[in-house]
């Protein structure tokens, strides 16, 4: 049998798929804490996430929120950090905590059969953490050391600075850590933050996996009596930098420069946001993007170059990010501007746009695979005050967006003079 290998097999256009975001069940604990749950999957595992309104935006001093979040696992009045970690690990569970701009989380991954033994200890962390002084001082010492290593990396330095230019150093989105900030942290201040934003804080729960039959009762038993106090959302003013172009030398022996180009962009609820996601995909949002094709696959200036709309609640930014050879940094920047200009001046042809639409739909389908992915997408919607209507609107936008619309967006947003430009070598 001979086959024609030059002939591609016929395909079903992903853009014609009817994608469904599986529904989550939602209910409240007796104290009003909202719970979103997706029950599914073949493996006997679960993920539970406690999302508190206790991120960087709520702190009065740099690092307060992140440090309080970190130390949740480092001691209660009854247990040492070692005992806590040992207990979770003994049950094959992973307890992590993360601090973001608005929210901070505790997340638990483990085998579903251990739900009942694990929940009481998570409760203990939320109501009875003591943040021992010794744990704090070890943390401060080790974080300062880690910062000293990170500051040697040009991409780390560039990532901090570009956010500061975009949003201002005093805004939670733009502020960054300096070594002396660690020395100012006091245990009392952390305990007071903890008391207000965790023990008495406002939170919600996201649960997914093959959930035990009693999971609702168990969650209500251990978390339904917590105060769940209301937390006012703070307002911070953006203070973008006036100067647009920066060249910084961080390491005299560096062989590569970290390049960041960024401009302010409205938040996800703005009507331009979703169609701009598609324009971004064409520009630098996937392996076949214009930036990758030109700057990596044609010129070989970099291992990778990406553009993206920043995932933030109050605002966004349009960012181009890459590390390129020291001697080709300026050439790389000029190529990025050239690609912007082409998007402003020329229509994207139908073939390229249909490819991007199919790619985006296929990638949405791929991302919805499995209970953890599904709850993750819902969490992003819910925390941003959206419903699944937002998801379906994304799909409608992908299906209907036209080359003319995208060119207009490029003319509005992809203007060289609006971008901050930074190279850190």
């Amino acid at each position: 049998m001979s086959i024609d290998r030059k002939q591609a097999p016929s395909i079903v256009d992903a853009v014609d798929f009817d994608l469904l975001l599986p529904k989550v069940e939602s209910f409240t604990l007796r104290n009003g804490v909202p719970v979103y749950a997706f029950n599914g999957g073949a493996e006997e595992v679960m993920s539970i996430e406690w999302v508190f309104w206790s991120g960087n935006s709520y702190e009065t001093a740099n690092l307060e929120a992140a440090t309080a979040n970190f130390l949740l696992r480092n001691g209660t009045s009854n247990k040492t950090a070692f005992q806590i970690n040992d207990f979770f690990e003994y049950h094959g569970a992973f307890l992590q905590r993360s601090c973001f701009n608005e929210t901070a989380t505790i997340s638990l991954h483990g085998l579903s059969k251990h739900l009942d033994v694990l929940l009481p200890l998570v409760r203990e962390l939320i109501v009875d953490s003591v943040m021992p002084a010794d744990e704090l001082s070890t943390y401060v010492q080790n974080m300062k050391q880690r910062l000293s290593v990170s500051l040697k990396k040009c991409d780390f330095v560039a990532g901090r600075l570009i956010d500061a230019y975009l949003f201002g150093e005093d805004h939670p989105y733009g502020k960054y850590t300096k070594a002396p900030d660690f020395d100012c942290l006091s245990r009392e201040q952390l305990l007071s933050f903890y008391d207000r934003y965790y023990r008495n804080g406002e939170f919600m729960l996201f649960v997914a996996g093959k959930l035990p039959a009693n999971f609702r009762e168990a969650l209500d038993q251990y978390f339904g009596d917590l105060p769940n106090g209301k937390v006012d959302r703070p307002v911070h003013a953006f203070q973008p930098a006036a100067q647009k172009k920066y060249r910084i030398e961080n390491d005299p022996n560096g062989v590569q420069g970290a390049i960041r180009l960024a401009r302010a962009f409205p938040s996800r609820t703005h009507p331009d946001f979703q169609p701009s996601m598609i324009l971004n995909t064409v520009f630098g949002g996937f392996f076949g993007s214009r930036l990758m094709s030109n700057i990596r696959e044609d010129k070989g200036y970099t291992y990778g170059i990406h553009s993206y709309l920043m995932n933030l609640m109050q605002s966004s930014g349009w960012m181009v990010s890459t590390e390129a050879g020291k001697d080709v940094c300026e050439a790389t920047i000029q190529e990025v501007y050239k690609e912007m200009r082409i998007l402003r001046e020329e229509l994207i042809d139908d073939e390229e746009l249909s490819l991007v639409k199919n790619y985006l739909m296929g990638s949405l389908l791929g991302d919805l695979d499995g209970p953890f992915q599904i709850i993750g997408r819902w969490k992003n919607l819910i925390l941003n005050g959206c419903t699944d209507e937002y998801f379906y609107n994304t799909i409608r936008t992908i299906k209907s967006v036209t080359p003319e619309q995208l060119r207009e967006l490029a003319q509005q947003y992809l203007q060289e003079e609006d971008f901050y430009e930074l190279v850190v070598v």
Binding site: I11, E89, Q145, V149
Partner: protein, 415 residues
């Protein structure tokens, strides 16, 4: 229990089908039995450079990525010291596109000068980004050279010298392809909402007429037993002193491998592990310390590494690590510690197996190691490990003549 079917095409290609009808996505995974260990010592980094060239167009298809993206698919690849893996995920209705693309590049590449020229540069930038322009980036280059004298694990996947990449020629590329990229040296796994019979038909159609190629006869220089402690002191422009200690350990298929895996877990993985508790929390000598291994197919390295708290000497840090090891050798591990390591393993396996992509890759890897069904029996080997097994391995590994130590010193700031 992971269900799968297995058959072989007449040209020697091994095919594994793992049906899972709960997902709308299909995965097609091709694993080639070639890694950096199979390279010529004068042309290192080649397996990885070659992986890049696999995306530069094949004999009948000028563009690899574009038709796949059009079919709603995504793909990637990676190279290790032991193997090279290519994977595609796409909507199951478009699975045949993946067959078409993967079979054509197994048949033959386009071998374009332009692609080679560009990818040489891209890989050089990757080399710089990860191994030069980064504090401690050259640690494994130096440690591999110290710990291995004969075995090709003595260089990293990226290569031992940028020059080797820069000097690669199209003839090298062709010879490498001919030697390693053929049905006899590959495993194909298809997973997702598929029927074995349909996959068999598609596999025959697209891969069946590709010439078998010669089965690669791997004859790697064996690493002679190390006879004395090796030491290396490095000074570099980094902010903190760091300590690296490596011991040779059993190969992936040797008995005892699972016991060693648990030994590293007990010593140094997780916030309740021995080294973290004693050296970071109690004695405050390290700001971080870990114990791990690489899961290498041939005999690899068990590693303990950490960065020191400023003011602590490398000598003091090393002797503190040694004390923990001595204590383990004297008193062994506890029932609870062993049980904890088993529970973590059980949980880790369950989480890994959630994704159809991971299942496909694991099946391919186990098949390359000898039998895909090991995926279903591996946990039993962990569950059977005893306290004594762990101690026997610890005694075998933690011998002074088996040790390689690197002091990675912070160079004093120039005034």
């Amino acid at each position: 229990m992971i269900q799968f079917d297995r058959f072989q095409l007449a040209n020697g290609l091994r095919v594994i089908v793992h049906p899972d009808h709960t997902t709308p996505n299909a995965v097609l995974n091709v694993m080639y039995d070639v890694g950096a260990r199979d390279e010529d010592p004068e042309r290192t980094g080649f397996a990885h450079l070659f992986e890049h060239l696999m995306f530069g167009g094949s004999v009948n298809i000028p563009e690899y990525d574009e038709p796949l993206q059009r079919a709603g698919g995504e793909n990637n690849a990676y190279t290790t010291n032991d193997l090279t893996n290519y994977y595609i995920q796409l909507p199951a209705v478009n699975l045949e596109t993946a067959f078409w693309l993967e079979s054509d590049r197994m048949l033959s590449l386009a071998f374009s000068e332009k692609s080679l020229d560009v990818q040489r540069k891209v890989v050089c930038e990757e080399f710089k980004e990860h191994y030069i322009n980064k504090p401690y980036g050259d640690v494994w280059h130096k440690m591999r050279t110290l710990a291995f004298k004969s075995h090709p694990y003595r260089w990293m996947t990226i290569g031992k010298d940028l020059k080797h990449i820069e000097e690669a020629t199209l003839n090298d590329v062709k010879a490498f392809f001919k030697k390693h990229y053929c049905p006899a040296n590959a495993v194909l796994v298809v997973a997702g909402p598929v029927k074995t019979e349909d996959v068999r038909v598609m596999a025959e159609k697209w891969f069946g007429d590709i010439p078998s190629g010669d089965k690669y006869d791997r004859r790697l220089p064996q690493e002679p037993a190390q006879t004395e402690t090796r030491r290396l002191v490095v000074e570099a422009d980094v902010p903190l002193d760091a300590l690296y200690m490596c011991w040779h350990m059993p190969a992936r298929m040797e008995p005892g491998y699972q016991a060693v895996d648990m030994l590293t877990d007990i010593l140094g993985s997780g916030a309740s592990s021995r080294l973290h508790q004693s050296l970071v929390k109690e004695q405050k000598l390290f700001s971080n310390v870990e114990c791990y291994h690489f899961g290498s197919t041939d005999r690899g390295l068990l590693t303990i590494e950490g960065k020191l708290v400023t003011g602590v000497t490398l000598e003091a840090a090393e002797s503190a690590v040694q004390k923990e090891i001595d204590q383990l050798l004297t008193n062994g591990v506890t029932e609870d510690e062993l049980q904890k390591a088993k529970n973590k393993t059980e949980s880790m396996i369950a989480f890994e197996d959630m994704s159809v992509m991971n299942r496909a890759t694991s099946l391919a890897h186990y098949e390359l190691l000898g039998d895909a069904d090991m995926m279903n029996t591996e946990f039993a080997r962990y569950a059977a490990v005893t306290i004594k097994d762990v101690l026997v391995q610890a005694e075998q590994i933690f011998r002074m003549e088996n040790l390689n130590v690197m002091y990675y010193r912070s160079k004093p700031e120039a005034v």
